[in-house]
Symmetry: C2
Subunit: 144 residues, 2 copies
DNA sequence: TTGAAAATATTGAATATTCAAGAATTGAAG
DNA sequence: CTTCAATTCTTGAATATTCAATATTTTCAA
């Protein structure tokens, strides 16, 4: 008897990796118009509520581990997109804030990202998109 | 008027990245029992049809770019999990084959991966899982 | 048939990420 | 209080990835 054994393309882990890679590639392409990597857009977006966010909080939110985030923030500080402030209530922490320049950039990036979402809506459909989002959220929930 | 502006957690690109990260982390954890990174499992799995696959073909299938794949294959050749053969029909190409040792390892890895899929089925549900897979496949299709 | 362009894989240098260790601060138990 | 463990962030070394350039082979048009 031949052994079929699930092909890799049927594994959820693989499908997620493939879809993520493709969508991310498209987004990267748009954001590259402003010369900004996807992770930096995420950082700006999280900080654009104007509140201070600690490095740990940020790392979780933008899906980077701590040392990688530290080094990326170093670059963004050099570019004056964000700045550090020591947390007065807990001096182990560093609070990150977005600068005015960061806000301006973030707006441009947002519209590039919205372009992409619209493009997806068109080719993939309104209904599929919201259903996919719902299922992804619930998968993430069930994994915690 | 306050500016709501979609939070990052509602973007499809972000949800995909988050879900992928989480599922991948879990799979990584299982496969680490055999000390093998997820990409190597994918490579072994693709090669386990016994046919020869060129580097380009492989790179596409396992979602790695060429130079990264070349270097990973170097390691796997050292570990005698796979081997290179020059393609007799097109000598620009290198055909990759899985070794007997690779096959044995691949089987162990498969069952670790199946464990994970079962775990997902339990916590996330049969129906959600297959629906999610369907939607991901169709998203990937619509992106080409 | 020849020569230029395309396809395939690898290499080396530049860059980025990760792991493990360190420094500073806080919390909390004795 | 004091001391020891836990938390938070950063650093430096080790590792991995990527970009650009190279070598080889094939394709195909002139």
């Amino acid at each position: 008897m031949a052994k079929p054994n699930t092909p890799i393309t049927e594994h959820l882990a693989y499908l997620l990796a493939q879809a993520n890679r493709e969508i991310n590639r498209q987004l990267e392409l748009r954001l590259s118009k402003e010369g900004v990597p996807v992770e930096q857009w995420r950082i700006l977006k999280v900080l654009s509520d104007g509140d201070g966010h600690s490095m740990g909080e940020l790392a979780d939110a933008v899906l980077l581990n701590h040392p990688t985030l530290t080094k990326m923030i170093d670059r963004m500080v050099s570019d004056t997109l964000v700045y550090r402030v020591q947390d007065p209530n807990d001096r182990r922490k560093v609070l990150m804030f977005i600068s005015d320049r960061g806000k301006v950039l973030c707006k441009k990036l947002n519209s590039l990202a919205v372009d992409q979402e619209e493009h997806i809506l068109e080719s993939y459909g309104d209904k599929s998109t919201s259903e996919l989002k719902r299922l992804l959220e619930s998968l993430i929930d069930s994994s915690n």
